[in-house]
Structure formats: structure tokens, C-alpha cells
């Protein structure tokens, strides 16, 4: 039995495993760094820590909905990554019988990004696979960026 947080972007609902979630923030000022890789849309500063930000809507080709949006901070490997979505609805329990494995092409997304499809009443929740959401090169790039930023912070007065 898994507990997932339901986030929505555009008209789609995504499920994120709660044990990988650190916290949920309101959308705040996004700083951009020079020479950011294209899959990152900037960084945010959370209580002193700098966290790179992935725009989930751009990633899946969904146009942003109304509202300010929320940032979900998740753990990916040793680093923390922020996911920018339109909003977070609630936290639900999913029984294993509610989760089905998807067909290989599902709504235009390659299924390596999903750990499964959850059923919630009549609606469908796309359960994100946080490990494959970023490719390994992208993960390395994030690590480098975090290190550079922290080093920069140390050097700063």
C-alpha cells in the first residue's frame, strides 16, 4: 500500500511517492544561472539551500494552467530536486490492486517515466518514476550545479 501525493499540471494528475517527498512550497522567485541545461528552468532558494528546478509541465509538453503553481521538493539520489507543477491536491493511499502497469505508449509519454497507472475513482493518476524522470547525464549535471552553487556560497562573503 503506497501513499502518493496527487499533483496536477494542466488537466493531468500525477502521483508522487510520499517517501521521496521532502516538502511542498508555494511557487516563489526562480533565479536563473548562466549556462543552465535546457531541462532545468532555474533554481530556487529554500531556507538557505539552493535547489534546481525542473518544470514538469514543459517536460511532458503540457501548457501551464492558471494559478501560481507549486514546487514539490523530492530526493533523487543524493540530491534534492524541485518539480514545478500547477498545484497539489491531496495525499491518498493506493492499494496495490488499484495500480496497473501501463501499455507501452500511454498518452504520448514513454512508459519508462511511469511506475504505474493508479485508479482514483473514475480518474487516472500517472505515477511518476522519479529515478527515470531525469536521465543519468542530467543527474550528473544537477550534482555539478549543486556543488558549484554551494562552492560559490562558501566563497561568498
Amino acid at each position: 500500500m503506497a501513499q502518493v501525493a496527487i499533483a496536477y499540471a494542466g488537466k493531468e494528475e500525477f502521483g508522487i511517492d510520499i517517501h521521496r517527498v521532502v516538502e511542498i512550497l508555494k511557487a516563489q522567485r526562480i533565479h536563473s544561472l548562466p549556462q543552465l541545461p535546457p531541462f532545468l528552468c532555474g533554481v530556487v532558494s529554500v531556507r538557505g539551500t539552493v535547489i534546481p528546478l525542473v518544470d514538469l509541465r514543459k517536460r511532458f509538453g503540457i501548457s501551464p494552467g492558471p494559478g501560481k503553481g507549486r514546487i514539490i521538493v523530492v530526493r533523487s539520489g543524493n540530491e534534492q530536486v524541485g518539480l514545478l507543477v500547477d498545484g497539489v491536491k491531496e495525499i491518498i493511499d493506493l492499494e496495490p490492486e488499484d495500480v496497473i502497469m501501463p501499455p507501452s505508449i500511454f498518452k504520448g509519454l514513454k512508459t519508462e517515466y511511469l511506475t504505474g497507472i493508479g485508479r482514483r475513482g473514475d480518474a487516472i493518476v500517472i505515477l511518476l518514476n522519479l529515478d527515470t524522470l531525469l536521465t543519468s547525464e542530467e543527474k550528473i549535471q544537477i550534482e555539478e550545479i549543486s556543488r558549484t552553487v554551494e562552492a560559490g556560497d562558501d566563497n561568498a562573503p
Partner: protein, 682 residues
């Protein structure tokens, strides 16, 4: 230590069980191993002994000389395990035997189901043939004892180890896990009772410390949100109270305004009445003046008659004078002439009397018109001006009231803007609370078992924020309605202000018209005085005429006497006639002066009539103006009435708003935060 469903109890039970089972298994294994090892070695020993004995027995068996083997057998029997050793010959008969005397059996421990006595048989072979057998009986008692001892030792040792390990583990568990968790638990219990000031202890840098920090962070945020919410809702409640009081004040002011408008209307109606009376009086004045004019014309006619009569007199006198010479003949003619003169004098007298009567009438009328004018003046001065002043004062008071109403409305507007500001704060707080509840739910799930209690809190917070945002939406709607009503009230007040200004203007105009009326009345009074004076002079002149008439009559009598006594002498007659001439001259002069006086009176009367008609016109205008004022004031009153209704509707909205805020406030009070004690009275 809580025993019932605590982690400690379960953990300790599990630990002890595990240790026990493990150690039992280990012990059993060890013992089994030892047993097999010991048995094996025993067997080996026995077989070796038997083999050696067998080897050594072949000789004796063949030679029936058991002496060398006896010593050996003695040696072998030293081994305590061996209970008997027998050497059998080829036929199975016992050739040599040694049996250990059975010791007291005692309930030897044989927990391992070892056979009490075992036998080892080894054939004795000589030259490849079995010539006998060595049978060694041995017990496993020794092994049993050893095993028992070792079992006991092991058990003892393991028990000690069990106790020691359990104690150590329990202590460590208590120190590192149970105590921190129960501290967190007690803090959470305080939170579930609504006390958000529960202090979360600092438990170090491990996972539990992380949970504690997360909890502390959440509690802080929640506490500050709720206390902000508390103060906001308190301010909202205060603002609503103020609004309600302001609305009440406005209602009362509007009611006062209505009453004052009524006062103004009655004042104007009183002015109207005075106006009408003035008009009536001026009408009467007008009529009186017309009568005066008629009388004057009559006087003039009479005077002309007098002139005519005087002319006749003159002529007759002239004739008389011319005929003196022929007096003797014409005594009758003189007498006739005198008769004529007499008639003329009588006519003149009658005319003079008529004139006097007319003059008296004129004087009477003039006095009456004087009185009327004085009355008009009094009316105007006292009632009219006062009414106007009252009306102006009332207008000014109304204007002040309207001003203060406008100020109150402006404050209302500001208040509603304040509420809007507070609403946006509330919306922000609601959003943040929502976010907070999500984060709390996440942390709760991550804490798993320990977080069940906390996820309840998180759910409550989310429900609370939903209700808050619904309430905030309601409040926003209400504020919108209030603002719309405020704008309507402002428009109504502005209309009222305009009407007040118009009213003021009308009143001023009315005052001016009254002033003009007053002036005209004063002029009319002056005219009346002049008329009186002229009439007096007229009367004086007339009296002179009358005196002259009397003289004439007297003279005529003298003439008549003289005519009868004409024989007495012509000179007497001449004298008389010349006297008559002088008198006629006097009469002529008097009549001329009289005519002049009459002309003056006529002119003055004409002027007086003009004045009167002017007064009339002013009075008519005044009436119209007053009607206009009354209409405007009526309009103002109805405008005030509708403002009052709007105010009352606004008051109702405020009441429902206040109820909603009260509900929210009570919900908030369920949570005790550090700030709530401080802000309880705000």
C-alpha cells in the same frame, strides 16, 4: 514504562523471544554436537580398547593362559565407562570376565535418550579365524554426566548472556529511541488538545531528531498562522462592530434629518400663512385706497360746485352792486337776489358738509390703512422674518447633518477598504495553511506508525483552511454588497446636499422678497401719514370755508334785514355789499387752496395704490416661492427616507457579517497558541 501497547513492551518481548529462541537453538546444537562428539570418542575408545584386547586375547585364548591379559584387563577396567569386559571363546563361553560393581544408580540424567549400556563386540582372530570375541559393555553415564554438566553450564552461561544482552539492549533502546519518541508523543498529545505552544525538544541530528525538527517547524508555522488569523478575525470583528455602530449613527442622523425637515416644512407653511394674510391685508388696503380716491373725486366735484356757487355769488353781488342805484325799485330784486344768495350759501354749506363728511371718511380710511400697514409690518417683521431665519437655521443644521453623514460614509468606505485588506491577508493565510497541511500530511506519512496521530492534525488543518477560504469568499461577497450600498448612500447624500443648497437659495430669495414686502409696507405707512396730514390741512381749510359760510349767512341776514329796512339808508347796503364782496374773495381763495389740497391728496392716493399693488405682487411671488420650497423640502424628506432604508439594509448585512466573523473566531479559539493569550482582549 507504559506496558500495554507500547513499543517498548513489544520490542522487549520480541527481543527476549528472539534471544531465547536463538540461544536455545544454539544451545541445542552445541549440545547435540558435543553429544555426538563425545559418543564418537567414547565409541572410538571402546573399540580401540576392544581391538587391543582382542589382539592381545588371541594368544591367551589359544593357550588358556590369561595371566598376561588380566593385567591388561585391570588397566582397561580403570576406564570408568566400561562396566564389564568379557572375553568369549569360540563357543561363546565366557573365558574371562570383569564386571564393575554397579554403583548406586541414582536418577542419572539421561535426557538424551542415550542407551544406558552399550556393547562393543570385537572378534578375536587368529590366523584368519575367529576364535573368540571380546565384548565390552560400557555405559554412557559418563557422557551423560559430561553433557549434563555442559548443558547446565551452557544454560547458565546463556541465561546470564541473555539477561545481560537484554538489559543492555533495553537500556540502549530506551535511551535512544523510546525516550525521544515519547517526548515527541507528549508534544503531539498537547497539540491534539489544541495547544499549539507545545515545545518540541531538540533530539539531535538523527532520524528522530529530524522528525522532531519537522514537527517543531510545522507547529511554529501553524501557530503563527493561527494567531495571525486570530488577530485578523478580532480586527474584523471590531471593524464589523464599528460598522454596525456607524450604521446605527447614520440611521439616527437620517431620522433626525427627517424630523428637522418636518420642522422646516411647518415653518414654511407658517410663513405661507403670514404671506396669505399679508395679501389679504394689502387687498383690503387696496380697496380702502380706492374708496379714498372715490371720496376725493367726490370732494373735487363738490369743490367745483363750490367754485361754481362762489362764481354765482360773485355775479349776484356784482349785479347787486350795479343795481344799488336803482334800489328803491329793486328792493324785491335785492330780496330775490338775497334769496338766491341764501340758496347758494345753503348749497355751499351742504357741499362743505359733504366735503367734511368725505374728509372724515378719508381720515378714517387713512387711519385704517395705517393700522393695516402697521399690522403688515408687524406680521412681516415678527412672523415672516423669524420664519425665514428659522428656515435658514434649519437648512444649515440639515447641511451639517448631511456633512457629518457624508463623513461617516467616508469612514464606512475606508472601513470596508480595511476589511478588503484584511480579506486579502486572510486569503494569504488560508493558502499558506493549505500548503502547511499538505506538508504535514507528507511528514506524517513518512513517519509511518509514529505519524498516525499527526496526520489527524494535518487533516484537521486542511479542513480548517477549506472552511476559512469559504468564509473569506463569503466575507468578500458581503463586503462587495456593503460597498455597493455605501455608494448608493453616498449618491443619496449628495443628492440631499444639493437639495439642501437649493432649499437655502430659495429661502434666501424668500427672505429678500419679504424684505421688499417690508419696504413696500413701510413706504405705504409713510404714504398713509402724508395722506393724514393732507387731510388735516384739508379739514383746516374746510373749517375756514365753513366759518366763511357762516359769516356769509350772517351777512345775508343782515342784507335781508337791511332790505326790509332799506329806507334806512343806501350806505348801509353798500357797506354790506362790499363786505359780501370781500367774503366772496376769501371764499374763492379758500376754494383754490382747497382744490390744490385735493390734487395733492389725489396724487398721494394714486401713489399709495401703486404701492399696494406692488405689495400684492410681491406677496403672490412669495406664495409661489414658498410652494416651491415646500416641494423641494418634501423631496429631501423622501430622499432621506430612502437613505434610511439603505442604511437599515446595510445594518442587516453587517449583522450577518458579524455572525460569520464570530463563527470563525470561535473556531480559531479552539486552538491555543502562544499569541492567543496576549491578543485575547484585542
Amino acid at each position: 514504562m507504559i506496558l500495554k501497547r507500547s513499543i517498548t513492551a513489544r520490542f522487549i518481548t520480541a527481543l527476549v523471544l528472539v534471544l531465547l529462541i536463538g540461544q536455545s537453538v544454539a544451545a541445542v546444537a552445541t549440545v547435540m554436537y558435543a553429544r555426538s562428539k563425545l559418543l564418537g570418542s567414547l565409541e572410538m575408545r571402546m573399540s580401540r580398547a576392544a581391538s587391543i584386547t582382542a589382539g592381545m586375547s588371541s594368544g591367551p585364548l589359544l593357550s588358556y593362559d590369561y595371566a598376561p591379559i588380566d593385567t591388561y584387563i585391570e588397566e582397561i577396567m580403570r576406564d570408568k565407562e566400561i562396566t564389564a569386559i568379557r572375553i568369549l571363546d569360540g563357543q561363546g563361553r565366557i573365558a574371562r570376565e570383569r564386571v564393575r560393581p554397579a554403583e548406586s544408580e541414582g536418577a542419572g540424567i539421561n535426557p538424551f535418550l542415550l542407551k544406558k549400556t552399550m556393547t562393543m563386540k570385537v572378534p578375536v582372530v587368529a590366523a584368519g579365524e575367529k576364535i573368540g570375541e571380546v565384548v565390552i559393555d560400557y555405559t554412557s553415564k559418563g557422557v551423560n554426566d559430561d553433557i549434563s554438566k555442559s548443558v547446565v553450564m551452557t544454560a547458565l552461561f546463556q541465561a546470564i548472556m541473555l539477561v545481560v544482552v537484554s538489559v543492555v539492549v533495553i537500556l540502549l533502546f530506551n535511551r535512544h529511541i523510546k525516550r525521544p519518541v515519547s517526548r515527541i508523543n507528549s508534544a503531539i498529545e498537547k497539540v491534539t488538545t489544541g495547544d499549539l505552544t507545545a515545545a518540541v525538544p531538540d533530539l539531535g541530528e538523527n532520524e528522530i531528531g529530524g522528525i522532531a525538527k519537522g514537527l517543531g517547524y510545522l507547529l511554529d508555522k501553524l501557530s503563527s498562522s493561527i494567531s495571525r488569523f486570530n488577530s485578523v478575525s478580532n480586527s474584523a470583528a471590531t471593524a464589523v462592530e464599528q460598522l454596525t455602530t456607524a450604521v446605527k449613527n447614520i440611521s439616527e442622523a437620517a431620522k433626525r434629518q427627517s424630523r428637522q425637515i418636518d420642522g422646516v416644512i411647518s415653518g414654511i407653511r407658517a410663513a405661507n400663512d403670514s404671506q396669505r394674510k399679508t395679501t389679504e391685508n394689502t387687498d383690503r388696503l387696496s380697496r380702502v385706497s380706492s374708496e379714498n380716491v372715490t371720496s376725493l373725486l367726490q370732494m373735487k366735484a363738490a369743490a367745483e360746485e363750490i367754485a361754481a356757487s362762489t362764481g354765482r355769488l360773485f355775479k349776484s353781488t356784482g349785479d347787486s352792486y350795479a343795481m344799488i342805484a336803482e334800489m328803491s325799485q329793486t328792493a324785491k330784486m335785492i330780496a330775490e337776489n338775497s334769496n338766491e344768495v341764501s340758496h347758494a350759501v345753503e348749497d355751499t354749506s351742504a357741499s362743505v358738509e359733504e366735503i367734511t363728511v368725505s374728509l372724515n371718511a378719508v381720515r378714517e380710511n387713512t387711519k385704517k390703512s395705517s393700522e393695516l400697514t402697521a399690522l403688515v409690518r408687524v406680521l412681516l417683521t415678527e412672523r415672516g422674518t423669524l420664519a425665514v431665519a428659522d428656515a435658514i437655521e434649519a437648512m444649515e443644521r440639515i447641511a451639517e447633518e448631511v456633512d457629518s453623514s457624508a463623513k461617516i460614509i467616508t469612514r464606512l468606505d475606508e472601513r470596508s477598504k480595511d476589511i478588503e485588506k484584511m480579506l486579502s491577508v486572510i486569503k494569504e493565510v488560508t493558502e499558506k495553511t493549505n500548503l502547511l497541511s499538505l506538508n504535514a500530511a507528507i511528514l506524517a506519512s513518512q513517519a509511518g506508525e509514529y505519524g498516525k496521530g499527526f496526520s489527524v492534525v494535518a487533516d484537521e488543518i486542511r479542513a480548517l483552511s477549506d472552511r476559512t477560504s469559504a468564509s473569506a469568499r463569503d466575507i468578500a461577497n458581503i463586503v462587495g454588497t456593503i460597498q455597493a450600498e455605501i455608494h448608493e448612500a453616498v449618491t443619496a447624500i449628495q443628492t440631499g446636499v444639493k437639495k439642501v443648497d437649493e432649499g437655502k437659495e430659495l429661502i434666501f430669495k424668500s427672505g429678500e422678497a419679504m424684505g421688499e414686502t417690508l419696504e413696500a409696507a413701510q413706504k405705504s405707512a409713510q404714504m398713509a401719514k402724508l395722506i393724514e396730514k393732507a387731510t388735516e390741512e384739508q379739514a383746516g381749510g374746510l373749517r375756514q370755508i365753513q366759518l366763511a359760510m357762516e359769516n356769509v349767512r350772517f351777512m345775508i341776514e343782515q342784507v335781508a334785514k337791511a332790505t326790509e329796512e332799506e329806507k334806512r339808508g343806501t350806505s348801509h347796503m353798500l357797506d354790506s355789499i362790499s363786505d359780501v364782496k370781500e367774503v366772496a374773495e376769501l371764499v374763492k381763495k379758500g376754494t383754490e387752496e382747497h382744490a390744490i389740497g385735493t390734487d395733492i391728496i389725489s396724487k398721494n392716493l394714486g401713489l399709495g395704490l401703486d404701492m399696494v399693488s406692488q405689495i400684492n405682487r410681491s406677496a403672490q411671488d412669495q406664495l409661489k416661492v414658498n410652494e416651491g420650497i415646500i416641494a423641494s423640502v418634501e423631496q429631501m424628506k423622501s430622499a432621506g427616507g430612502s437613505s434610511l432604508r439603505d442604511m437599515e439594509a446595510a445594518a442587516l448585512s453587517f449583522n450577518s457579517l458579524r455572525d460569520k466573523v464570530e463563527v470563525l473566531k470561535r473556531e480559531m479559539e479552539l486552538f491555543k497558541t502562544g499569541a492567543s493569550d496576549r491578543s485575547a482582549d484585542s
